[in-house]
């Protein structure tokens, strides 16, 4: 062979290469994204490490002292003299700890429901796109029906039905699961649609034919070849849906069908706080709301950047 391979100038380590990649660059050069990501990471970390950071355990009702109720932020309680950084609520719960634990619940519900809808949606989308025909028609029709109902409505329904089916004694333990399923079920169709779309494109690319040529069956082709190539948009949707799921959980809690008051999520905290809109205990509403909005905003900012960065058509 007379042709000589082109020299490869870049042979640094993997990390260095990652740092040097276009994606990393576009990340580095957007201060807003960097800030948002740091904030999101901070909030997530704080939530994960809540038991280590939080001065109190707000989920242990026995540790609450009603007398601590309604302490103002940074001021000693009139009766017990304790100081709560962000104040305390009607139950004497430390707002700061409650926010940490609450974000933990919110993020857990968010992440788990995203995962849930992701698995269902991606699976069904792949099958629909790859198999086609009636299977596809059926799956997409179901997705249409699902899409015709806004997430909140679906979640309310799932929640209502679960209430009817789960024995009352188990309900508290099951709430988290029900929330995950309710929110997860209300979002899978988006993944299914996107994945189906990308699969339809990908499966016609000849690398899929090349894989089939060596005798691979449908599932390995789907999972090994098609799936990684449809992952980009899925990742973007998942990120943005994480923010949405956190908001959705908050909305459900606000409507009174979310986490129980003894294990408040951010939404439950806001629902409590909202009662004090006029009575002067502003901190009970303000701080959880702020954290919720910051959490959603930072995740959204990151997702937004990710979408633009992964979209070859833009820029």
């Amino acid at each position: 062979m007379s042709s000589t391979p082109l020299p490869t100038p870049r042979s640094q380590g993997r990390l260095a290469r990652l740092w040097d990649s276009d994606l990393a660059f576009s990340f580095r050069s957007s201060p807003v994204t960097v800030a948002a990501t740091l904030l999101a990471l901070l909030l997530v970390l704080a939530a994960v490490a809540a038991p280590l950071i939080a001065p109190y355990d707000p989920f242990d009702p026995a540790s609450l002292d009603l007398s601590d109720g309604f302490s103002r932020p940074m001021e000693p309680n009139e009766i017990t003299g304790k100081v709560f950084w962000l104040g305390s609520d009607a139950q004497g719960r430390d707002i700061f700890s409650a926010i940490l634990y609450g974000s933990r619940v919110s993020l857990l519900v968010g992440a788990a429901s995203v995962l849930f809808s992701l698995v269902i949606g991606v699976g069904l989308g792949l099958v629909a796109g790859y198999v086609g025909g009636r299977t596809e028609a059926l799956i997409m029709r179901v997705a249409d029906v699902q899409l015709s109902f806004p997430a909140i409505l679906v979640a309310l329904l799932v929640f209502g039905v679960a209430r009817g089916l789960i024995p009352p004694a188990l309900q508290e333990q099951m709430t988290l699961l029900v929330l995950v399923v309710a929110i997860g079920l209300s979002n899978w169709a988006q993944y299914a649609r996107t994945v189906r779309g990308s699969t339809l494109v990908e499966k016609n690319k000849v690398y899929v034919d090349a894989a089939r040529l060596i005798g691979l069956k449908a599932w390995p082709v789907m999972l090994k070849h098609v799936l990684p190539n449809v992952a980009g948009p899925v990742l973007v949707i998942a990120t943005i849906n994480l923010a949405l799921a956190v908001i959705e959980e908050a909305t459900l809690s606000f409507l009174g069908v979310g986490m129980p008051p003894t294990q408040p999520s951010l939404g439950t905290l806001i629902r409590f706080g909202q009662q004090y809109l006029f009575s002067g205990e502003w901190w009970i509403l303000l701080f959880p709301s702020l954290v919720l909005v910051l959490l959603a905003l930072s995740i959204n900012l990151f997702g937004d950047w990710l979408r633009d960065a992964l979209n070859p058509k833009l820029r």
Binding site: S3, V206, I214, N229
Partner: protein, 331 residues
């Protein structure tokens, strides 16, 4: 061709159902519509030979290729490779063994490699699937060998396809095709997406490999010059039919079918001989409702009544009434 042909294609047909959805058919009283992408194609390929298919876009070349390698089941007809049928259920096991001997190179070097896989993994995939060699180290070795064979560096295995140019990608695709020790390679327009200078590299490489490894090619292209350069025998396709088969050189020196002549005429003349070219008339008709009789008749300068009614059979390598009746002198 004394020995039995390596590849035997008999009366291959492929029909696609392109009917409108059921509701439209009912409402508009439209019948089901079928597209005969390939209609009764037969040819043989001997071992070590390069058989080329040429024809305009939509003439069914790729469909033939996909049926030959077994990616697409034929509606009718048979493909047998080394005596094993590609579509007979009874010989499924044998066919699985046969698969490793058949590979394909595709037109678009950018789409034929999974963009998320590293080159090493791409080339190793057939090796693993067919268990050509066992053990990671051995596989690695083999990948390195293959990369060297196609003129790349073994270190290139750890890169992603997007880090390569089109020509280099096509080399990777060739390496993958060779990974399973394939003997028969179907090349569907392997260079039409490449620049001429790179095309030359790939064509030369393919010929070198053929000589060294005794490969058999089914070579598909719409570029007559390329075909002439590569092929020992050539089949010309028009609207799903093989209108002419002949030896490579003969086709160019003595085209017989009017369509072949037209194609040759349409090729711009690099040599600038100044010979006046007959403009090709018209465009390919809609393949869903092809003209009856000889499908080429609306564009044919030699058309006469019989052509409009009767489909010409392939006689002596040409499917043309005018030729068969001797109404055109061989040029």
């Amino acid at each position: 061709m004394s020995e039995a042909p390596f590849v035997e294609v008999r009366d291959l047909r492929r029909v696609f159902d392109v009917s409108k959805p059921w509701l439209n058919r009912v409402l508009e009283n439209a019948p089901r519509q079928y597209l005969k992408a390939v209609d009764g194609v037969s040819f043989d390929i001997a071992r070590g030979e390069t058989f080329a298919l040429v024809g305009e876009s939509g003439s069914g070349k790729s469909t033939v290729a996909r049926m030959v390698v077994g990616l697409l089941p034929p509606s009718d007809g048979t493909v047998a490779i080394a005596g094993v049928s590609m579509n007979d259920v009874d010989v499924a096991q044998e066919r699985q063994r046969l698969r490793r001997r058949i590979q394909m190179i595709f037109q678009d070097p950018y789409a034929s490699l999974n963009p998320r896989w590293r080159v090493g993994r791409i080339i190793a995939e057939p090796i693993r699937a067919f268990q050509i060699v066992e053990g990671e180290a051995a596989i690695n070795n083999r990948v390195g060998e293959l990369l060297t064979l196609v003129g790349l560096h073994p270190d290139d295995r750890s890169k992603f396809p997007h880090e390569f140019s089109g020509g280099q990608r096509q080399r990777i695709a060739i390496a993958r095709a060779l990974a399973s020790n394939a003997e028969f390679i179907v090349c569907d327009e392997p260079t039409s997406a490449l620049d001429v200078s790179v095309q030359a590299q790939i064509l030369n490489l393919m010929r070198d490999l053929q000589e060294r490894l005794g490969l058999t090619y089914l070579f598909i292209s719409h570029n007559l010059a390329v075909v002439r350069h590569m092929a020992t025998r050539i089949g010309v396709m028009y609207l799903g039919r093989l209108v002419e088969i002949s030896d490579g050189k003969q086709l160019f020196s003595n085209p017989r079918h009017p369509y072949t002549r037209m194609l040759l005429d349409a090729v711009p003349d690099l040599a600038m001989t100044g010979k006046a070219r007959d403009g090709v008339k018209g465009e390919i008709p809609n393949p869903i409702s092809p003209p009856c009789g000889c499908t080429f008749h609306p564009r044919c300068p030699l058309v006469f009544d019989r052509c409009r009614i009767e489909t010409p059979p392939v006689i002596d390598g040409v499917a043309c009434h005018a030729v068969n009746e001797g109404r055109v002198a061989a040029a």
